[in-house]
Structure formats: structure tokens, C-alpha cells
Amino acid sequence: MSDFFAFTPADWQAIWLTLKLCFITTLLLMLLATPLAWWLARGGSWFHTVVQSLVALPLVLPPTVLGFYLLILLGPQGWIGQTLESMGLNHLAFSFNGIVVASLIYSLPFAVQPLQDAFGRLGHRPLEVAASLGASPMDRLLTVVFPLCRGGLVTAATLSFAHTMGEFGVILMLGGSIPGETRVLSVMIYDYAEALDFQNAHRLSLLMLVFSFLILVAVYGRQRRFSLFAQRNVNS
């Protein structure tokens, strides 16, 4: 049993890097996606439709294609890469920061859509009530919106986390599989498989699977309790 967990230092490095990527991406994504989803849920203009479609775009683009275009854009020849370099910063290709940016983009729809649904279902009334009772917009957000949309928030965070953990094509293209920098678990597993080292590939895959599964069980289990509670309140 302990033999199974005999990961190499390179493995541990990839594990740590992956966890870092997932947590940072999820955190930043929740900060980014929440106001965006709110704006999308509350409006119906043609502009809203355009933005909503743009947000969903990473769902339909093949990952390697997306990775390729990000490589061009964020690298030293791209518009963003060059702007960064002119400011004295590094371009974003082949760096951890770069794959964080990539993760934000391709996991964005997984965060925005559940949030948008939850906010949409909230309706105007609870907020009008809270405003009439003296709650400022931020107050309403924290004491009414978040508690009542807790399910959506949790789903958004969980899906973002899980999706980031599993992403491969974009990270390989943009990240370049640099150990300690962009060689995340999914790339590591791919590398082992490429080397026909299936034992290591299996080992890491199983770890990833078990970990993801446990997280999902924990999150959805907790959520089930809350959602039943909320369900009873809303229906009567």
C-alpha cells in the first residue's frame, strides 16, 4: 500500500503545482465571475447576449486550438505579451501566471453559468425587500444574495476547480510542460503514458480520480442538505 504512494519528487512537484493552479484559479474565478454573472442575470439587452456567448466560447473551442491562440496572444509576439514586456514584465507564455490566465478563460463558463442561473432564479423581490429594510447594495449581496444563492456559488466553485484540474490541451500548448512551472498532473500523466510507463501513469491518474471524487462527494453532500432546506422555504 505504501508502495503505491511512492511518488517521485517530480510527481510531488506536479501535485503541488496542480493544487496551486486549481485553488488560485478557483479563487480568482469566483471574484471575476460573480459580478459578471450578476450583470448577465439582470440584463436582457443585445449586448448581454453577446457577452454571454463570448463567455461560453471556451466550451466549444478545441483546447489545443485555444492553447495555440493563447500562445500567440500572450507570448512575446502577441499583443498582450508585447504590452507586458514594454512595461518591464515578462510575457505570459510558458509561465505559471500564463496558465492561470488560460485556466481563468477556459473555466470561466463553468463558473459563470451556475452563478447566472442562481442569480436569475433569485428574482427582484428579496432584494427590494432588503432595500426597503435599509440594506445597502453590498449588504444585500452578502446577507441576501449569497445565502440564497449558496447552491450556485458552490457549484460554480466546484466545477471550476474540477475543470481546471482536468485541463490538458491548453496547458500543454501554452505551458510547455516545464517542471515546477507548468508541468501539472494532467501533463505528467500524459508524459508517463507517452513513455509507456503505465504504472506511474495509473498511479497518478488514480490519485487524481480519488481526490476529485472525494471533493465532489463532500461538496455535493453538504449542498444536498442545504438545498432541501431552501426548497421547503421557497415552495410554501
Binding site: 485553488f23 495555440f68 509576439q77 502577441g78 510558458f94 501566471n97 510547455g176 507517452e194 513513455a195 509507456l196
Partner: protein, 264 residues
């Protein structure tokens, strides 16, 4: 809320404290057909050059080239052909002149039986449902495989059966898993332990363009002494014999071919 802030702070600090390869390291990007031969080569290099460390990044030559052209932090690039390194040298003038380090050999292999008994005409038989080759656009072994199939006059007939691997080692995996009944891949891969279960069939080198493989020290790697040392090492007799025992033709062997053959 305070704890959350601290956590965010720590995470952000981590983000900005990344570590690239430290001094005494070189990052070598290599075609996946060099696996695992290059691992042994690097081991030998590090033994004879204590303190110097090589980080290996494998991939398809095409993808690696794209990445280098867009600023990838690779010091040395060992491709599976000569065109990709030339493309890089043209686009980034500080790149070293591409140097031929070996030539690959194409073989046919099957997980279920001796490939020599299948042969080219056997590919047309109904028992052979799937034939795997590397993607010709990004993998030189794929290009050569296509040339060979054209040479033997069966390219059109096998179109429906072809499946493409992103790299030649993905092609090998397809064959190993049995998903593809037969594959055309690198001899260096077919020599691996996992593939010993069946012997391979050598493909006649005249049926395709040579698989000359060259390498460059990238513009970025010019200032890296380990990169220079490594690229020198690859041309040493020790390295070259590792390459030839793995199924490559060493640079010298390539040099011994007649100019006419090379020009094909």
C-alpha cells in the same frame, strides 16, 4: 474573513515566486521518438559532467517548434527532422547552425503478431482494421510513413484504416494498446522493453526521404554553458553509440551514405 485574506495573500505570494531552472541547468526539448534513448544519454552526460543538470521536455517536433517560435524557455531543441530546426534558425538568427545528430529508422510493428509476416500487402487484408501513423503535419515519422505507403502503392487503399497519433510515441501507444492493429513508428520506440513482445519489420530506407534528425542550441540557450556542453556531448562517440544501439543511425553512419541517397 481575516483568514481568507491571509490565505489569498499566501497563494498570491506563491504565484509570484516561481522558479525557473537555476544556474547549472539546461532545458532540452526533444521529439518524443527520442524517448527513452535520450533519458539514457542525459544520464551519461550528467555522470561525466557533475553539477550540470538537464531538464527534458518531450513532445511532437511540430508543437515544440511552435512553442520555441513563441518564446518557450528551451535551450536546446532535438527534432525528429531537419526542417523544423531550420525553420527556427531562419526565424531566430541567434540560433546555432542546425547540426545533424542522428537519423531515425522507420519500422512496422504490431502488438498481436510478427510484423514481418504482415508486410505491405498484408495491410490491405481485412484482419488489419486500423493502421496507426504519426500525424504527418507535425511529426516527421508520420511524413515518412506516408511516403513509404505511397511508395508501396497502397496509400489510397489504406486511407479508411489510418489513425493518426499527435506524436510518434502516441502512435506507439495506439499500437501497444491494440487499438491499432499495426503501426508505422520509430525503431527507437519499437526497441523499448514494453514493445519486445513482438519483433518489428524494418522499412526499407529507400522508400522514403531520410529521417535525418538535427538539433540546435536556441537563441535563448546561447548564453547557457550547460546547453553548449550538452550539444557537444550528443556528438561524442559515447552518445552516438547509445543512439545507434537504440535503433538510430549515428551521424557518422549517416555521413557514410552516398550523396545521391542523401539528396533523395
Amino acid at each position: 474573513m481575516c483568514q481568507l485574506r491571509t490565505l489569498i495573500g499566501i497563494l498570491l505570494a506563491q504565484v509570484f515566486c516561481f522558479s525557473f531552472a537555476s544556474a547549472g541547468d539546461a532545458t532540452v526539448a526533444a521529439a518524443s521518438s527520442l524517448r527513452p534513448t535520450l533519458d539514457r544519454l542525459v544520464e551519461a552526460f550528467e555522470q561525466s559532467h557533475p553539477g550540470d543538470h538537464v531538464i527534458l521536455v518531450y513532445g511532437s517536433s511540430g508543437r515544440l517548434t511552435t512553442q520555441i517560435l513563441h518564446g518557450a524557455p528551451f535551450d536546446v531543441f532535438m527534432a525528429a527532422n531537419t526542417e523544423f530546426p531550420e525553420q527556427i534558425a531562419e526565424s531566430q538568427p541567434e540560433t546555432s547552425v542546425p547540426r545533424l545528430y542522428a537519423a531515425g529508422q522507420l519500422v512496422m510493428w504490431s502488438a498481436s503478431r510478427d510484423a514481418r509476416e504482415i508486410g505491405w500487402q498484408g495491410l490491405l487484408k481485412p484482419e488489419v482494421r486500423r493502421i496507426a501513423i504519426a500525424q504527418p503535419d507535425v511529426a516527421p515519422y508520420g511524413q515518412r510513413a506516408r511516403e513509404a505507403l505511397i511508395h508501396y502503392g497502397i496509400w489510397d487503399q489504406v486511407q479508411d484504416k489510418l489513425v493518426y497519433g499527435e506524436s510518434v510515441s502516441q502512435t506507439a501507444r495506439m499500437a501497444l494498446s491494440g487499438a491499432a492493429d499495426v503501426a508505422l513508428l520509430a525503431a527507437s520506440l519499437a526497441n523499448q522493453e514494453a514493445m519486445q513482445q513482438q519483433p518489428y519489420m524494418r522499412v526499407d530506407a529507400t522508400s522514403h526521404l531520410p529521417l535525418n534528425q538535427s538539433m540546435v542550441v536556441t537563441a535563448r540557450g546561447q548564453s547557457n554553458p550547460v546547453a553548449a556542453a550538452f550539444s557537444q556531448f550528443v556528438m561524442s562517440s559515447q552518445a552516438q553509440s547509445i543512439l545507434s544501439s537504440a535503433g538510430f543511425l549515428s551521424a557518422r553512419q549517416v555521413g557514410q551514405q552516398t550523396p545521391a541517397e542523401l539528396a533523395e
